[in-house]
């Protein structure tokens, strides 16, 4: 991960040719367990850890955060210096999402075929944020949400077929989840949110049947993509939920206080109603 921002032009020329050769990853579940990527130290570096023997080594330069493996583990997305990078498992950068000065990119999320990333772009002057998407290797990302008045956008998540994105629109007084169809360009409201402060962390299930999100500050909900069947699945003080790879279960944290010895919940979810 040694492509400095001053070398982006040279890297970009190389990566334009790469864009035509990157293999698309087909998603299959369950997968086989590979290595773990995690942040460590200050300034943060990304480390790879072999979960079988605990062998750990740094694979990034300083300031790297938000590691996320592509669906089949061929690539790792991460953020450094306000740029979204894509690297090999050994840490060699193969792509970054270019941008002009004055903005910063964060929170990349892969499409299920590993061909695209969605992420949040923030204007460093106005602090306004928007959701973008980029096909790996392509030099001009797409503004998905637009820059709209005093509204901000965050928490993107792809549908399993990579055609739709769910993301959050929020302002000082209101928030809601939206779904945009990338083929038709249509945008519709999925559900209103009562919490305008914390990110909803919307997550489309691997099966495509439900979307998990956080609302009311400390509760987790699921909802069908058509906007029906909104249901709370937690019991307060809950956060950081995640779908199992097969989309049938959700694990999330419920940590009300240290008085509970076993503070983490695990819930089965009916995805076939």
């Amino acid at each position: 991960m040694n492509i400095a921002p001053t070398r982006f032009l040279v890297a970009g020329i190389f990566l334009l040719s790469f864009a035509f050769s990157i293999p698309v990853e087909a998603t299959t579940f369950p997968g086989n367990n590979g290595i773990v990527a995690a942040t460590r130290n200050a300034p943060s570096r990304i480390w790879s850890i072999d979960p079988d023997n605990g062998t750990a080594m740094p694979i990034s330069g300083a300031g790297a955060t938000q590691p996320l493996w592509s669906p089949r583990g061929k690539w790792m997305a991460y953020v450094r210096g306000g740029y979204v990078f894509v690297a090999t498992p050994s840490g060699n950068d193969i792509y970054h999402v270019p941008h002009d000065i004055g903005v910063s990119d964060s929170t990349p999320v892969w499409s299920s075929d590993g061909s695209k990333l969605a992420f949040v772009r923030t204007n460093l002057t106005t602090k306004q944020s928007a959701v973008y998407s980029a096909r790996i290797g392509v030099q001009v990302p797409t503004n998905v949400s637009g820059w709209t008045g005093k509204k901000n956008y965050r928490a993107p998540s792809w549908s399993p077929n990579a055609r739709q994105l769910v993301y959050e629109e929020y302002s000082a007084t209101a928030a809601r989840l939206l779904i945009k169809d990338s083929e038709t360009g249509t945008v519709r409201e999925l559900t209103p949110l009562s919490d305008v402060t914390d990110s909803s962390r919307a997550l489309w299930s691997p099966t495509g049947k439900k979307i998990l999100f956080r609302d009311s500050a400390t509760e987790l909900y699921t909802i069908w993509p058509d906007g029906t069947h909104r249901a709370v699945i937690s019991d307060g003080d809950s956060y950081n939920g995640g779908w199992s790879p097969d989309g049938t279960r959700i694990a999330f944290i419920e940590d009300p206080s240290d008085k509970y010895k076993w503070p983490r919940w695990y819930r089965g979810v009916d995805t076939y109603r």
């Binding site: 579940f29 369950p30 997968g31 086989n32 367990n33 590979g34 290595i35 773990v36 990527a37 995690a38 942040t39 460590r40 130290n41 943060s44 480390w47 850890i49 979960p51 605990g54 750990a56 955060t65 938000q66 590691p67 996320l68 493996w69 669906p71 089949r72 583990g73 790792m76 498992p89 950081n240 995640g242 779908w243 199992s244 790879p245 097969d246 049938t248 279960r249 694990a251 999330f252 944290i253 940590d255 240290d258 010895k261 076993w262 503070p263 983490r264 919940w265 695990y266 819930r267 089965g268 979810v269 009916d270 995805t271 076939y272």
Partner: protein, 74 residues
Amino acid sequence: MISISGPDGTVAWIPIDKKEHERLGSLAWSPDGKKLIISMEKSGTYDLFVFDLTTGKQMLLLQNSGDEMSWQAR
């Protein structure tokens, strides 16, 4: 004791041992769906643990980590 439910909407506790840690941070599933990585915070730093949902065993994976992790599929 671990009680893992099927897809019927029920909840089961996962018996995480927080040891000396003050709070739980975040989690990530293993690609095979049989394990979880869990971060736990103590005095502003995290340790990562792997919890095996099948056996109930909890193993320290990495000390002095951050709170961001991802498990590679192969």
